[in-house]
Symmetry: none
Subunit: 180 residues, 4 copies
DNA sequence: CTCTAATCGAGACGGTACGTCGCGTCTTACG
DNA sequence: CGTAAGACGCGACGTACCGTCTCGATTAGAG
């Protein structure tokens, strides 16, 4: 069982340096001090390991993100989300910036749907649930990835504001009063 | 020069059936009646061909999408965009649904920035241009892809409405008057 | 390690049928039931395999040929050499007759120089060692190849006589008394 | 017709630098300022050009070499041969030293047999004609190639002596009186 | 001097063989 | 049983060089 953990953290440390798709299995094995045969006893392939690692890490994120839409103070919820990201900056930079982001997006969307459908009924506001989810996830990830790329030059409150304004509010609002 | 066109349309017809990432170069070559050597005389790899094909096709899309944000009647502009998509349903289903969507997103964003930055000054509304672009592109693509997957069960006006409400309006609005 | 032997004997059986230079790597692989990758794990290219096979087989030949020049009864030594060749007729037909003969010549000459220089001092007889070696090897090979092509119509004693007369004696003799 | 000459001399100048087998057709074409199509209008392939060039050049050599065996003063004949070689050192270095030597040997043997069989009847001396030819050609070429590699440190008379002693005499002599 | 046929240059193309790369399987031995 | 070490098969990729073909330009000889 030690090997599994070695692979888990090995992948995370490698993914922080290179794009996931560029990581060779051999690199991972050498880096994790795990033999080829052992790897395949635990995972059917590289993607499965990523899936496992991603799911583990994203579950935390989903726990924080779910209340976003049901909360009364959406801005505060957004801030909470970004605080969590900030606390694991290296990890999420790797997961959102590199070639793994597509897979992460899928995992996130899947977990979101599995856990959240009852709590928030976006369809009430005229938007189909699956569209709302994929659009929201995509938007959220883009904003997070953008913020992580800014190298701390953007205050966390501002980033949270963007998320609130570009993703959360539009999902909740049914009609606009444009004032410009 | 004939080969290049054969490859272009060959890729499009293949991509309509399988995910881009699953297309083997040999399949493409057989399908396009072009030899291996000739392919590499034109493109350094499969991705470069996709890039070329994508750029060609996306340029039309960008021409239609650019006025979106500067128009007074955003809803009509959204409708125009979806009408174009509808007119080339097969093509865009292939490009947005399969494994090529990531690349398309990047191309779209690049062309969008190259051509449109002066027309729309999103930063006036408090959102950095690059964030606005990548968020807007991602959102637009998600909605389009979702609509294409619905097999015509969703009226085009409704889809355009989603785009207007989830992407265009939030980008333009600086402050909300939430009415719920 | 099994593959290496399979390749070794596979090459020998193929070289008996076609010219070495005409053997396609794929033929060899199919014939030896060895995969492409495995071949390259053992040898850098086709020539390296031939080199290895040739060296292995030629070592025996050199062991027999070396005493040729130091023996008192050169005719008997020549006979011994041809008897060995006769005992492995198929092998040497392949190695000496086909496109591999050039490589064999080089290997033979190299091994000959590596092992024999001290035993025979041809330079005493006025012929530089390297010239003597390459001339002797070339001559010996031509006679052997010729004999192998004659399909047993030439008695082995006669062939040995040619070798003695055309190669061994001239190398030993310093001056002639021509009697004709 | 100008192209043919350009190819002829182009090959000779290239063969002086690299092994024949390493010369790419494209190199030859660029070097000779002749187009691909033109080359194939004159020769079926690279080898045919070499054959043509080789035959042209070797004919001179054969004219000199033929009298070797019928002459009374073999030593003088050998000297004549080496003088000719010396007069075209660059050319013959290229033809005998590089990868073309095998082909040259074959051409030489063929021309030798075509022109010489009536003049010299080696079989009288107990050696089959074809064996005598191939053995003699191989030996002669080895000595020439060796001499050309010595960079003029070996006097021409000495080299001619080797040829006389190792090739011409053994071919003529039917019995030896070994004096050592 | 002109017309026409031979010669040529430029370069796209097909095709075959080669060598590389990375993944996934399997065997063997060790604890 | 979990693991290490490593040989192996396999499929796909990208490269290298050859030989073919088309088209347009040039040239040379015959009228």
């Amino acid at each position: 069982m030690k090997s599994k953990q070695a692979l888990h953290s090995g992948l995370l440390s490698l993914i922080a340096e290179q794009d996931f798709s560029e990581i060779l299995l051999d690199d991972l094995l050498r880096h994790s001090h795990v033999s080829r045969a052992t790897f395949y006893r635990h995972y059917p392939d590289k993607e499965a390991l990523l899936e496992h690692v991603g799911t583990t890490e994203i579950e935390n994120l989903v726990d924080i993100a779910l209340p976003l839409l049901s909360s009364t103070d959406t801005r505060a919820s957004c801030l909470a989300l970004f605080r969590y990201i900030e606390g694991h900056r290296a990890l999420w930079s790797a997961l959102l910036t590199g070639g793994a982001s597509g897979a992460m997006r899928d995992i996130y969307a899947r977990l979101f749907e599995e856990r959240g459908p009852k709590q928030v009924d976006m369809s009430k506001r005229g938007i189909p649930l699956d569209l709302g989810t994929s659009w929201g996830v995509a938007g959220t990830f883009e904003i997070m990835a953008w913020w992580l790329k800014q190298d701390k030059s953007v205050p966390i409150e501002v980033a949270a504001g963007y998320l609130d304004r570009l993703v959360v509010r539009p999902a909740l609002v049914s009609e606009y009063d444009v004032n410009d």
